[in-house]
Symmetry: C2
Subunit: 335 residues, 2 copies
DNA sequence: GGTTAGCACTTGGGCATGTTGAGTGCTAAG
DNA sequence: CTTAGCACTCAACATGCCCAAGTGCTAACC
């Protein structure tokens, strides 16, 4: 039995199964793909593949379906990313043009990606490490409540209401605003922790308490504001592709709702800058996603875009779509 | 046949069916509810109810299930809102305390509501009609791109990137900022359309073009920023309660993703300030929701909170939960 | 009049049984 | 190493049967 043919058989099984959703048998295989051998030979090969844990039979006399491990091998060694169709390229082009809000762009991106792949699309807010502080605003909402607004030069705006603990004067707030603004405008968000203490130190003693509170607020905003959130679209696709497995859809929806879960999932996936990363079925740390795969990649300065779908998915085209969308996204939002 | 008993029978059918998910027959009915009559009598009553279109039989010899019309009658005339349990009251109390962001509060609200009801919870961003302009900020992102930020005294922050058409100077922007701020700080968002033209008129001619553009931006922000968005949680509950009807879950997810659909749905539902409004099954304009009901009510100054679930739902408790949550929300966010 | 008991009738669901066809594994020959 | 052939397995489908739940109706009852 030749090694190349064995891989060819696995490829054929994966492709047929993804296409038909049904276990594929040896006879059907030789008919659909012109491997130059008989079904009996294929059967032998399949027996080997099964022994190696790459495929499995749902019951004694049914065809085989790929295991997680089988998909893994397929993705890593057999498949090659399919180029997108011209229509798809055009769709990406046109949908992502227009010099709009970051939020707008991301929203359109997930929609587009979910339509291209027929899966659930997910995008993480862009990392703002390199982003610079463009503006800071303190707004008094109530005697003890201050709204802290942090605006980056990327156009991202984040805000937070903080509790001052004691009454705050409007003038004090103004003075602090100028101080903060003067000191931190233009610095990288990531450097705030190092810069803020010196700002506080320079404040007149009577304002220092408030300054500290505000600094904490800014700190929190720069840490976890945007980049810790995700946007998604296309959950309805779950219902469509999983007509037969309604059971598993619940846990998946739960996972999708837990932003924390999705964020960990995305960031745990390596950061290969050239290609997309795939996490298949049980490779996946979260139990609810045992029958799901995630295809994702980084964009811009390290945030992730990707899709989530059933393990039985068309990896080559999906990977192509994710990669293409990520590239455009990088281009639009700047590296 | 007495009218009151007929209603009593309908009530019993609804309650049993909601509880058991199975068509309910005449015999089971007399056993579980001590109506003082025999099953034969109930059968006669049921025949009448069926004639009136309030209940239906899935097939010749099965029990009856309520129709949309039946639920309608149940909700309107028979049921009375159940008081929440002490534990539930406490949950509402504790989860909604904490003087945080509007976004935070809303997010916690939908989570809470979805847990209380085991349905999909939906909340519309609060109407900001009465909100006052607290602050305005123009930030230059690129030579021709300006970020317009509008901060209301409610703590709501909305932003938008606009294209200036020609290069913008930082100083010009500063001057305009002061002008706008001086003129519109403290005015109601809703009144912006009337106030903005006069601000522009007062600008020096060379700035008027830019002023107009910025004013348009502010206008757009005040119109459609927040109040046209919704937040939701608990989509996983759909999968749980609909174990038997996996078919219908797809369209429902689609509807939920289309914010426009949900917004229309919510605003089309009357605005009875005292009670919750219920829209049952096909009463619902959107086809995908033919087997779903929406229970919603207004809060604050007219935005909606509510839940969406299968027509077969426990209306009394659900309505109670929605009402209670809406009340707390009104209280926290201020009328 | 409304209510009830009794009974014939309908029908989906469960179960045992049989049949079919796809698919396998194995063996022996090429 | 490949292939033909064959016995074997087993889900899926079909058929027939029975049962329980539930109905609708009629005739008696209060």
């Amino acid at each position: 039995m030749s090694e190349p043919r064995k891989l060819e058989v696995l490829r054929a099984i994966v492709e047929d199964y993804v296409h038909s959703r049904e276990p594929v048998g040896s006879k059907a295989l030789v008919e659909r793909h012109h491997l130059g051998v008989s079904s009996a030979t294929i059967r032998n090969d399949m027996a080997v593949l099964e022994e190696e844990g790459l495929i499995a039979a749902p019951h004694t006399s049914a065809g085989r379906i790929p295991t997680d491990k089988g998909y893994r091998l397929f993705v890593d060694r057999i498949s090659q990313v399919k180029p997108l169709s011209a229509a798809e390229r055009r769709a990406i082009h046109s949908l992502l043009e227009g010099p709009d809000d970051v939020d707008d762009i991301l929203e359109r991106t997930v929609r587009l990606l979910s339509q291209l792949t027929n899966q659930v699309a997910v995008v993480q807010y862009p990392h703002s490490n390199r982003a610079l502080v463009r503006h800071v605003e303190f707004v008094l909402l109530a005697p003890q409540q201050v709204l802290v607004v942090l605006i980056a030069d990327t156009g991202s705006v984040s805000q937070k209401v903080i509790d001052a603990g004691s009454d705050v004067g409007d003038d004090a707030l103004m003075r602090l605003r100028s101080r903060f603004l003067g000191s931190i405008a233009g610095t990288q968000l990531a450097l705030l922790p190092q810069v803020l203490p010196s700002v506080i130190a320079l404040c007149p003693p009577e304002l220092r308490g408030l300054a500290q509170t505000l600094a904490n607020g800014l700190q929190a905003l720069s840490d976890n504001s945007r980049e810790e959130r995700i946007l998604m679209a296309g959950t309805a696709n779950l219902a469509r592709s999983n007509v037969d497995f309604p059971l598993s859809i619940g846990p998946v929806l739960e996972a999708l709702e837990e932003q924390v879960v999705m964020l960990r999932l995305l960031s745990d996936m390596g950061d290969d800058p050239r290609g997309v990363t795939v996490s298949i079925g049980r490779e996946n740390p979260y139990d609810g996603l045992a029958e799901a795969s995630v295809v994702a990649t980084g964009y811009g300065s390290g945030a992730k875009v990707g899709i989530l779908g059933p393990t039985r998915m068309d990896y080559p085209t999906t990977m192509a779509a994710v990669r293409a969308v990520a590239r455009y996204l990088s281009r639009i939002l700047g590296g």
